[in-house]
């Protein structure tokens, strides 16, 4: 069956099997390799993508179900060769070790900061609760999200000053 949706702000059309999961379409057909399969059951968050702005597990969504929607992956975060502030924050605070969980954490953080520009530690933990990281012990990830909030606020102010 035919599905058409926006992937990182570009329209894509694909002929998919009704059983195909979104994660398989993204990785195998559309080359969005940032989307990782960890558990395949919604426990680990590694396959998180933004579906119409909301984080979802791409292993628990059928490709057919995103027809007409907007999907965002880490491939679409940077602009003009510049890392997104959330990506910079993760890199600069050492919140990335093996990197397998990182795309999921990045997108969950992007969604959190869009809704809540200055989250408390409890709000950060709540927003990231669906993500497992086996390397960092999470402290560096907490640091990264706090720093990302500062960077995003600074960029918003700088952007306003320029315009």
């Amino acid at each position: 069956m035919e599905v058409q949706f926006s992937l990182n702000e570009k329209t894509v059309s694909c002929d998919v099997d009704p059983c195909l999961r979104l994660i398989d379409l993204l990785r195998d057909e559309l080359d969005a390799k940032s989307v990782k399969e960890g558990c395949g059951e919604g426990e680990c968050g590694a396959c998180t993508v933004l579906l119409d702005g909301t984080p979802v597990n791409a292993c628990l969504v059928l490709a057919a179900q995103v027809d007409g929607s907007c999907v965002a992956t880490v491939e679409g975060l940077s602009e003009n060769g510049q890392l997104h502030p959330v990506q910079r924050a993760f890199a600069e605070t050492g919140a990335v070790q093996c990197g397998f969980c990182t795309p999921g954490f990045l997108l969950a953080t992007v969604a959190l900061l869009r809704e809540n520009a200055d989250p408390s530690d409890d709000e950060i933990k709540h927003a990231l609760a669906g993500h497992l990281c086996r390397c960092t012990g999470y402290q560096k990830i907490m640091d990264a999200v706090r720093y990302a909030a500062k960077l995003s606020i600074a960029e918003t102010h700088a952007g306003r000053a320029r315009t």
Partner: protein, 282 residues
């Protein structure tokens, strides 16, 4: 396997007439089952964007929740925040945001897990379900809906359209606790919810419901009967705790043993009753 996305309830009803048709909404349970070969429908009927089954409104003083409304939408809705704080609290702890933004309230019930978190507050609120089938509509109290693990009262071709949640009696307090190995995103080892109205130490009314301690989520009516109308003395608390532990029928599984679950249900009830007494004294 085929996939169809009906545009309204009439199309949904006719799609469900086909042999081997199964509803998919958020997909958080059925996609895992499909992958493990536990279900093999011929046609998946997607209701996740069916407007007839979505939305939250106040109808004659009761909150009507469309069965396909996702858990995130429910816990952020002003009506639910104001009038159903227990449901909000439970849904917030039901799973992480990635699951909650797909999983629906109707889906959590239809999946009929003994550990269906949302069933506990719905049992406490004495919610009703509007079922729609080829023969027409019928209403069912939520405690008659889940019959056994994975089995509901839905007949062939029927679906859940609306979950109606009455406000709790005025002046009460609510308690809920879920025991698991991780705070977020965990299938409960055991959970207990309580709504209670006290005058002094006397119990005017009380409702208790447990999850993961029997083949289905259930009301703990024998413990309710012991508490009802009496004063919360040490002896009555002890009797109610014993009745609660005795009235459940948990199993040993990968998450915990049956005897641990029995103990937990009693301990949670004792904790809630003491909290209710302490709050009153403040």
């Amino acid at each position: 396997m085929n996939y169809v996305r009906p545009a309204g309830t009439a199309e949904l009803l006719s799609a469900l007439q086909e042999d081997g048709a199964a509803i998919i909404c958020g997909g958080t349970d059925i996609l895992v089952k499909l992958r493990h070969g536990l279900v093999a429908p011929k046609t998946l009927v997607d209701v996740s964007r069916l407007d007839d089954l979505r939305g939250i409104e106040d109808v004659d003083g009761e909150i009507h929740i469309g069965a396909a409304t996702n858990e995130n939408e429910i816990l952020k809705h002003p009506l639910v925040i104001e009038r159903l704080p227990l449901l909000c609290d439970v849904l917030r702890r039901l799973a992480a945001v990635e699951i909650r933004s797909r999983g629906s309230l109707g889906g959590n019930l239809v999946n009929a897990s003994p550990a269906a978190d949302s069933a506990v507050p719905l049992l406490l609120h004495e919610a009703r379900l509007r079922l729609v089938g080829p023969e027409g509509d019928r209403w069912l109290p939520v405690d008659e809906f889940i019959l056994a693990p994975g089995k509901t009262a839905l007949e062939k071709g029927e679906f859940v359209r609306t979950i109606v949640v009455p406000d709790p009696p005025a002046g009460g307090r609510c308690f809920f606790h879920k025991v698991g190995r991780r705070r977020a995103l965990i299938i409960a080892i055991a959970s207990l919810g309580m709504l209670i109205g006290l005058t002094g130490e006397r119990v005017d009314w009380v409702r208790l419901a447990g999850g993961s301690v029997a083949p289905t989520p259930l009301r703990l009516r024998s413990a309710e009967q012991i508490l009802l109308g009496g004063s919360l003395t040490e002896a009555r608390i002890r009797d109610a705790v014993q009745a609660a532990s005795r009235s459940v029928s948990p199993i040993d599984d990968v998450r915990a043993t049956a005897s641990y679950r029995r103990q937990v249900i009693g301990d949670l009830l004792e904790r809630f009753l003491r909290q209710a007494l302490n709050d009153k004294e403040r």
